[in-house]
């Protein structure tokens, strides 16, 4: 049976893993290669490397790091952060990424999804969406797409954008809840179940995991295909095997 995936995410700045709370990096969480090795040994189903530095120097460090990790990790690697052109996608794929995660650039230039999918295949194109619940004066609720690391509202409906992204060729979606990110209060299950009910591709839940039941809920209530978390893993609140065992006791298929 296809298992539910558990994916640690490493937000990397200037060659170090950092911890984000509501989309702003604050604390140092360790050496990326060391953490990646640990997750590999622990049975992580995939790893995400997110480059949150904008500087040219940071970019160079990040690419070196990616190459080093790809040489010794034999699980899928997804890479995101600042990828804006097809050439950027090609660069990280060549350095050892299996998938590319695109976000702000896809909002600015949706055709990047089509181009990337045509050139590398849909399985390489992950559309990452930062969404924040927005309440209108008339009480209407909707999820709005934010860009630039969650700082800039776009006026775009996240659910409609998810569907458009899939139509354009994204092979997977990551839904990051800006409200939940770093709070450890749980994934946004409404957003998840709304999107998983609409699209055919796998959907990854991101932002907000704080208890073991939060992971279970993402699957059984949100119908996610995978869960992504950062700080709870980096700081050892839970280990990957602990999360998987918890999922298994709730009848969810996992790779132990």
């Amino acid at each position: 049976m296809l298992t539910k995936r558990v994916i640690p995410c490493l937000d990397v700045a200037a060659g170090r893993v950092v911890r984000g709370v509501k989309f702003s990096a604050d604390k140092d969480a360790g050496d990326p290669i060391e953490l990646a090795r640990r997750y590999n040994t622990d049975g992580a189903d995939e790893l995400v490397f997110y480059d949150i530095t904008a500087s040219h120097e940071g970019r160079g460090l990040f690419m070196d790091l990616l190459e080093d990790c790809a040489r010794e990790l034999f699980i899928p690697l997804c890479v995101g952060g600042g990828l804006a052109t097809v050439d950027d996608l090609y660069g990280v794929l060549r350095a050892g990424a299996d998938k590319t995660s695109i976000n702000s650039a896809a909002v600015r230039t949706p055709d990047l999804i089509d181009q990337g999918a045509r050139r590398f295949g849909s399985q390489c194109i992950v559309l990452s969406i930062d969404a924040k619940k927005t309440v209108e004066d008339d009480g209407r609720n909707w999820w709005q797409v934010y860009v630039n690391g969650g700082r800039k509202a776009t006026g775009i409906d996240a659910v409609a954008w998810a569907r458009e992204g899939v139509d354009r060729g994204a092979g997977e979606l990551v839904l990051n809840s800006i409200d939940a990110d770093g709070t450890r209060e749980g994934y946004d299950l409404d957003l998840l179940s709304t999107v998983t009910g609409l699209v055919e591709v796998p959907v990854v839940a991101s932002g907000g995991a704080g208890t073991l039941d939060h992971f279970t809920d993402a699957f059984s209530i949100g119908h996610a295909h995978a869960v992504l978390a950062a700080s709870v893993f980096h700081y050892g609140v839970f280990s990957v095997p602990e999360v998987k065992r918890h999922l298994a006791t709730h009848g969810l298929p996992v790779r132990l």
Binding site: E72, V201, H225
Partner: protein, 223 residues
């Protein structure tokens, strides 16, 4: 290590070439990346990697004049390992993006998963070993491997299927015929199970694990 005994990894522009190279090296194999037919012909074993679309794969193989040498080394009994698109390309025809003729080394059609499932089939799924084969040496039955594909093989001859996987339907995930083996999953992304599979292929190439398919005898339980 000399290149004379190096396994040839066929370079036709497949995106995952580098991960295959890393994994094969990590598994202790001596390998060389090449699109040179004479190097492929001399190599003691051949790996055909692959990711992406069937039409592109076939176009690239044809434009680099590689289809002939692939057919030649397989019919000549050289150990051969196809991976993902490198497995699908061995069959008769693929329905991906219309209908595209493939290498037709094995009979069968590559079909899309039926609607109602999440596509691509992406993630870790189990391989049930339905026939014994040296490629499975030291790999437990029902081990999880990493899959990412939207199309699956429908083989004409069920006897070539040595491993299968269930996702909505049960489909062939490892096939073997003579000295040919191929996997739908990506061993280079399948942690220890995948590295073991590459190591086993290396041992098959070196003649340490028997050569390809063991003869299959249907055994009948006598009460």
């Amino acid at each position: 290590m000399s290149t004379a005994d190096a396994i040839a990894i066929i370079d036709y522009g497949a995106g995952n070439l580098r991960s295959v190279v890393h994994a094969v090296a990590h598994a202790g194999l001596n390998a060389i990346v090449t699109d040179d037919a004479s190097v492929i012909r001399r190599a003691p074993g051949v790996i055909l990697p692959g990711v992406g679309a069937a039409a592109d794969t076939m176009e690239n193989l044809v434009s680099r004049n590689l289809t002939g040498v692939i057919e030649e080394v397989i019919s000549g009994g050289k150990p051969f390992l196809g991976v993902c698109m490198g497995m699908q390309a061995l069959f008769t025809v693929s329905e991906e993006g219309g209908s595209h003729a493939c290498l037709d080394i094995l009979g069968g059609t590559v079909r899309r998963f039926a609607p109602g499932l999440s596509i691509p089939h992406m993630g870790w799924n189990q391989v049930r070993q339905v026939r014994s084969h040296p490629i499975f040496d030291g790999i437990a039955d029902d081990t999880h491997f990493y899959f990412v594909h939207s199309f699956h093989v429908d083989a004409t001859d069920y006897k070539v299927v040595i491993g299968n996987t269930t996702y909505g339907i049960t489909f062939p995930s490892v096939i073997a015929s003579g000295s040919l083996v191929a996997t739908q999953f990506h061993p280079e992304k399948s942690a220890n199970g995948g590295l073991r599979l590459y190591a086993n292929f290396g041992r098959i190439v070196r003649g340490e694990l028997g050569h390809g398919m063991t003869s299959q005898t249907d055994t009948v339980e006598v009460a």
